[in-house]
Amino acid sequence: MANGTATLEQADPDIKAVQKVPLVLNQRSMSWISNYVSSIVEGKTPKWWYISISITSVLMMMCFACFAYLISTGIGVWGNNSPVFWAWDITNFVFWIGIGHAGTLISAILFLLRQRWRTAINRAAEAMTLFAVICAGLYPGLHVGRVWMAWFLAPVPNANGIWQNFRSPLLWDVFAVSTYFTVSVLFWYTGLVPDLATLRDRCKTKTKKFIYGLMALGWRGGNRQWRHYEMAYLLLAGLSTPLVLSVHSVVSFDFATSVIPGWHTTIFPPYFVAGAIFGGFAMVLTLMIPATMIWPSLRDLISPQHVDKMCKVILLTGSIVGYAYLMELFIAWYSGNPYEKFAFWNRAFGSHSWWFYWSMMFCNVLSPQVFWFKRARHNLWVVLTVCMCVNAGMWFERFVIIGTSLQRDFFPSAWRLFHPTWVDIATFVGTFGLFTTLFLIFIRFLPMVCMFEVKAVLPEADPHYGEDKH
């Protein structure tokens, strides 16, 4: 690269080529990458891991216990009431499913857009996606009154001749989320195969070798295998791309197709997708920044450049979300519909909901604006703080949409506030336990950075020095 620059500048002193910062810092070699990423998996289990997983698995068990209580006793153990028939359950569902958007976006869309910086983060982001979708999937599955009858949602031919109601967005949800999860698992696993083979090849014990060998599906790294792999990965990327957009659009249809003021809004699909990417990237950073603090050398792979780019995505999507918030307000006023006007007025100034609304505004619209400044994007503590804000803000956003709209809709006589119970809180905290437990297991047993793809972005992987784009 240095040569190329010199040549250009020599040829024409007016041309100043952009100094590209390499994606992998410190001129790490291919073998260093393999050794370092594998060593995290192969090394002795650190003490903090045990401590962490014991905490998170307790939380996870709390989540399961709450669900067991819920199923055995009734939905009433939550605070849901009339008119707030959906409360934290669906809020948490949308929250988690939103988080589950970043991974596939990074893997699929950025792959198709040839964003090479995605390689360092896509593995962890995809894993995060899967775990978030698992957390999300619990809620719509278990929030129904009669879980044991939930199979009615599946198009199983039956003697009664009753079919599903294909007009219901909730049914679309079932298909959208399950499809998304399936494709995400396939996509993630496909991308994992070459690295599993690397781990298999490095294993010292027979058991490990057997397990990793089984998981590697007989990957040998032959030319033909790579050719098939590349094709499969491309196809899956193509398949996932529309799903990234569709899942959250469908989730937003739950609200957009209803008649409730504050829900009945055509802006929802793009707004939800932008919000999901926004929240998802924040969650990726929330997980990866601590990882780079635990394993400082990871910073060579997940460099400030990566963080910088993700911060820019957050800034962009955060601004889209902010625009959507303002546009909702404008349309509510412009519609002339008193119910719509009231719904938004109530969100912002209603006696018990303003708190959520302005928290949401601060977290999602104001806090990412610091990313206009490069110094903020390069200070990991600032980035982490903003990401935490965004994580919280996205939860507030969902509660604002679901909770405050339902609390006060058409008939003032039916208005009633929602108060969460301890089960609501414990379940939600418990899903974080489930999420982090799964993530801890992931970083312990699987390579959290995609080794072979990172190697491909090393300068030495490119024999043409960037001159092959013709």
Binding site: G74, I75, G145, S413
Partner: protein, 1064 residues
């Protein structure tokens, strides 16, 4: 009518037995049985709380074996169902006439029985005083029948006893009093209006001439009788004819409250309210009252006044009218009174009096029967001056019964220790007698006290002998209605537990034998209606439920000014300063008698919408004065300490708009302790402050705000319509100039682009298309429909905690909105049930097709298909869908949260009370109003059967009613086939006042509302604000003229928390 009226005598050896011990009449078993229910068994609170109520319901029912023996027909008819007996079609209802005794006369009823057990009560539509409507108490009284907390065992001094022992004791008492001629004998009874009881009483007084007979009703109108007799002569009862009155003034009289007055009292009022009527003008109602009542809500002009100021206002009216009519009689009545000043709104009184004078002999002034005799008499005098007596008011000649004493006279004799035997039938004097009488300790001093009670209640705990009373559906009886029409109370089932009726005891006491059948009633019947074929006329009376010709003879009243002024001159001081305490009837528990009825406990108060509680109602201004601050969203309130004469009651305050300042209203009947678990911790007992000289108003009480936080279970938290157009009203003037004004109110006034539905709905092709209309003009919000729906549709009770959480299950709710000034607002009630939208938003969102549309336009719920996503309820703009958050039917109310660790199961007696044609829903499913689909299907089947081979459309389907419609005494709810242009519902749907709520959503509801029309008198103060509970669009319509300005001023929504946004 039942085929065989005689029950076979019980066999010694039981047919059904719970153990071998019982089969063999083992004394050990008998002992166990009595030990199981010694006196005060349910009083024993060791580690038991209200939460055990539901479980105990089941347990106690099982212990006494009602699951086996309870569900039985008269044994003479006991035929196994495999042999089909006459009339009985399994699963089909049999209807019998009966009647329910109340303090204002019997209510004629039709009972639906299925498989030998009554499950539902309706008013008797043939009865001249009933239009088939009922009130909430009548609807809920069926639950009392199945209440396992009923008294079940005879006890003597706390020990279990048998009926035989009681009979023997009774005979001994009889013997003892035969010697003293009844000198030591007294009876204290509730009011039943039973001619048979009157006959037996006369018999007793014949045999025991010195015996005392006392009737006591804590909310009875004892003064009314004296006042009417003083005005119109002995035995007179004033019968107001509302259908003849153009102008009505009610001085603190809540005559539209069917719980308080029965449905017959005001049946003439509603037709005259209808602006579509031809001939007579729409009536006008003036109300003066201290707390908002149903009548106040219907008023065209309502004056807020302290209850203790009512006499002063009445005097002011009397003076105005006396002066303007120069009526000598009235002048003589009020001549001695000074002109009242101060709290009387002179302009209001003057204009109202002028209006009354424009309708001489077509107006009506009335007051509350519990008011003082002086006030009641004065009101008769006002009516006399207005020429209403004889035109609007008639008097009926009620048989005069002498030898009746008041409870004060009785307690005087008790204090003297002259009574050795006191019979107490019904009532609950230890709990509800005036506190100054100290009835409990007097009762303790009586050597032989015999208490016939439905519960082992406060009075039972102080009585020596306790006899379980039968429910009125378990024993023969009779009674007269308010106007005197005779009805037979026909039992529907043998007593579920052992028990006697008051007639049984009286008959035995005078030496007659106890009968299983109606012999005593038949004797009365023979006496009353002699001549003719007895069995034919008896059977006719049983079939119809009443004897039409038996009404008291009506006379033109002759006002006797002299005797009247003797009473009026003894009047009380006109105005009491200071804070007053007003004792009111509870719409849920009456005087306390329904405290164990969970349906009623969960039915919200008409005005405050509080369930499971009473409260000290105070006006916003008084609240400010007392420093009472409440949390509106969560309904938290501080406590007040109300003291008078050294007695103090601590009770939480509740801010009630429309309450008179410095006036506290507290409903009676709450705070009962040590009776049943259901009653524990429900409300606060205010009887300790009620004295015999202050039965309605206690002036000059001391009130202290002692802080604290009390959580009310309020069904409707938000009282303001927020400028929306759900409940619409207008003035008569507006209606006349633009009859269809309601159709263009609010959002309906602007031309909206037509909605286009993405989905096509299946065609509504069936010959019947069901629809409903609710007339806001006549709906007072009396809750009868709510309780009727609960009884008909097996709607579960959820308990106070769940109501606080917003999970009440009622399929109908009555929204009550206030508008205008928060201290003195207008009020409107609106019943909301499933709207059965043709383009239903709930249906499109259900993922499993559990809620779908029928060809008849019904929005159906398939409970078996429902998985409980709750999405439909979210998407329902009316929020009428109800979700089973817990297994409300299967779990004790206070163990809802215990999940799998407690046993499930519904009490047997409750299972008996269920309507077998309606599914009992499990947890996790959604439910809502079905338009009584079981009744629809029944009617359709009957129609098809009748049509036979001929075309089903050859004849129109027979009319039938939904449960809410049937219970509605004001005929506000009309249900029927919209497709039949001659049906009432079709005509009302096309009425000019008809509108649908939330029309812009294009859901095409099948429930439409008829706008309320107010008939204000423009000369009255603040007349411009009447009829404008939702006026924004009218304001625009009329431009910024003077009226517009007035609206702006009066509409300044003090209560409108968020209204500003609507005009953003």
């Amino acid at each position: 009518m039942k085929r065989i009226l005689k029950h076979a005598p019980r066999e010694k050896r039981p047919k059904m037995w719970r153990s071998l011990g019982e089969l063999e009449n083992d004394p050990v078993f008998e002992g166990l049985l009595t030990k199981e229910f010694p006196e005060g068994a349910s009083v024993n609170q060791d580690g038991v709380s209200r939460r055990d109520f539901m479980r105990l319901m089941g347990a106690s029912a099982a212990l006494v074996g009602i699951s086996l023996a309870g569900c039985r027909r008269p044994e003479a008819l006991l035929v196994p169902f495999k042999n089909n007996n006459e009339w009985t079609i399994p699963g089909k209802f049999l209807y019998y006439s009966t009647a329910m005794p109340t303090r204002f006369g019997v209510m004629p009823m039709i009972a639906s029985t299925v498989d030998g057990r009554p499950t539902k009560l309706e008013g008797n539509p043939l009865h001249p005083e009933s239009n088939g409507g009922t009130n909430g108490f009548a609807q809920a009284s069926i639950l009392d029948l199945y209440d396992p907390y009923r008294a079940k065992k005879f006890t003597h001094k706390g020990q279990g006893a048998t009926e035989a022992e009681f009979t023997a004791a009774l005979a001994e008492l009889r013997k003892a009093h035969q010697k003293d001629g009844g000198a030591g004998l007294a009876f204290l009874v509730d009011r039943t209006h039973s001619p048979t009881r009157d006959r037996l009483r006369e018999e007793i007084l014949k045999q025991f001439p010195s015996a005392m007979w006392t009737e006591y009703e804590p909310l009875g109108g004892a003064n009314a009788r004296g006042a009417t007799e003083a005005s119109f002569g002995e035995g007179a009862r004033a019968i107001p004819h509302f259908e003849r009155a153009d102008i009505i003034l009610s001085l603190d009289g809540d005559f539209l409250n069917c719980n308080e007055m029965g449905v017959g009292y005001a049946r003439g009022f509603y037709p005259r309210r209808n602006p579509d009527q031809t001939g007579a003008p729409v009536n006008r109602l003036y109300v003066v009252e201290s707390a908002y009542t149903l009548t106040g809500g219907m008023a065209d002009h309502r004056l807020r006044a302290k209850a203790s100021a009512i006499p002063a206002i009445a005097v002011a009216f009397a003076k105005q009218i006396a002066a303007k009519t120069n009526h000598a009689g009235l002048t003589s009545l009020v001549g001695a009174y000074p002109s009242p000043e101060g709290e009387v709104d002179a302009k209001w009184v003057e204009e109202c009096a002028n209006d009354l004078l424009t309708a001489k002999s077509r107006s009506l002034v009335l007051t509350r029967p519990q008011q003082s005799a002086a006030l009641l008499t004065l009101v008769h005098g006002i009516n006399e001056a207005l020429g209403n007596n004889g035109t609007v008011i008639e008097t009926a000649a009620v048989p005069v019964s002498k030898n009746q004493t008041t409870i004060e006279q009785l307690t005087d004799v008790l204090k003297a220790g002259r009574i050795s035997t006191l019979f107490i039938f019904g009532g609950n004097p230890v709990y509800n007698a005036p506190a100054d009488l100290d009835f409990a300790s007097l009762l303790d001093s009586v050597p032989n006290s015999v208490r016939l009670g439905f519960f082992e209640d406060e009075t039972s705990q102080h009585s020596k002998w306790n006899v379980p009373a039968t429910h009125y559906l378990e024993s023969w009886g009779d009674g007269r209605s308010f106007e005197g029409i005779y009805s037979i109370i026909q039992p529907m089932i043998l007593p579920l537990y052992s028990g006697l009726s008051d007639l049984d005891i009286l008959a035995q006491f005078i030496g007659l034998s106890k009968t299983e059948g109606p012999e005593h009633v038949q004797d009365t019947f023979r006496q009353l209606f002699s001549g003719g074929d007895f069995s034919a006329s008896w059977n006719e009376a049983l079939r119809k439920g009443f004897v039409a010709t038996s009404a008291y003879p009506v006379k033109t009243p002759a006002f006797n000014a002299a005797t009247a002024s003797a009473i009026v001159s003894k009047a009380v001081p006109l105005i009491a300063s200071g804070i007053e305490l007003v004792f009111t009837q509870s719409p849920s528990v009456d005087d306390g008698r329904y405290a164990n009825n969970s349906w009623l406990q969960e039915t919200p108060d008409f005005v405050t919408k509080i369930t499971w509680d009473n409260a000290a109602l105070i006006s916003p201004a008084t609240a400010k004065k007392l420093g009472v601050k409440t949390d509106e969203d969560d309904q938290l309130s501080p406590y007040l300490e109300i003291s008078s004469n050294g007695k103090t009651v601590k009770i939480p305050a509740y801010i009630a708009p429309g309450q008179a300042d410095d006036s506290i209203s507290v409903a009676l009947g709450y705070g009962r302790k040590n009776v049943s678990h259901l009653m524990e911790n429900v409300g606060f007992d205010i009887y300790p402050l009620r004295r015999s000289d202050a039965m309605r108003v206690l002036p000059n009480v001391e009130v202290k705000n002692v802080g604290g936080e009390y959580h009310f279970a309020v069904q409707q938290i938000h009282a303001n319509m927020e400028g929306r157009d759900h409940a619409r009203e207008g003035t008569l003037e507006r209606f006349k100039s633009k009859p269809a004004f309601a159709k263009t109110m609010g959002m309906d006034g602007e031309p909206l682009p037509p909605n286009i539905s993405l989905y096509t709905n299946p065609p509504l092709t069936a010959p019947e298309q069901w629809a409903m209309t609710v007339d806001l003009n006549t709906c007072t919000g009396c809750n009868a429909c709510i309780v009727a729906c609960q009884a008909e549709n097996n709607v579960p009770v959820v308990g106070k905690d769940q109501v606080i959480k917003g999970r009440h299950m009622g399929w109908i709710r009555i929204d009550r909105y206030f508008g205008g000034d928060k201290n003195d607002p207008e009020m409107i009630a609106q019943a909301i049930m499933c709207q059965h939208c043709e383009n239903a938003p709930c249906e499109t969102v259900c993922p499993v097709n559990a809620t779908v549309h029928s060809e008849e336009g019904l929005n159906l719920m398939a409970y078996n298909r429902c998985i409980g996503t709750k999405y439909c309820a979210n998407n329902c703009p009316w929020k009428v869908r109800r979700f089973n958050f817990f297994d409300y039917n299967q779990r004790p109310l206070d163990e809802l949260y215990f999940g799998p660790v407690v046993k499930k199961g519904m009490a047997d007696s409750l299972q008996m009370s269920k309507n077998p044609n309606v599914t009992v829903r499990m947890r996790g499913v959604m439910e809502k109003c079905t338009f009584c689909i079981q009744r629809i299907e029944e009617a359709k089947i009957s129609h098809l059967v009748a049509a036979g081979a001929s075309s089903r459309n050859a004849k129109p389907m027979e009319e039938f009613k939904s449960a809410c419609q049937q219970a509605c005494s004001s005929d506000s709810i009309v249900f029927g086939n919209e497709k039949n242009p001659n049906s009432r519902v079709a005509r009302l749907r096309n009425n000019e006042r008809s509108y649908v709520t939330l029309k812009y959503l294009n859901t095409r509801p099948r429930v439409s509302y008829l706008a309320r029309i107010k008939n204000p008198n423009p000369r009255m103060p603040e007349a411009e604000r009447v009829g404008h509970i939702n006026t924004e669009e009218e304001h625009e319509e009329k431009g910024h003229g003077e009226t517009g300005k007035a609206h702006e001023a009066t509409n300044a929504p003090v209560m409108n928390l968020n209204g500003g946004a609507l005009k953003a």
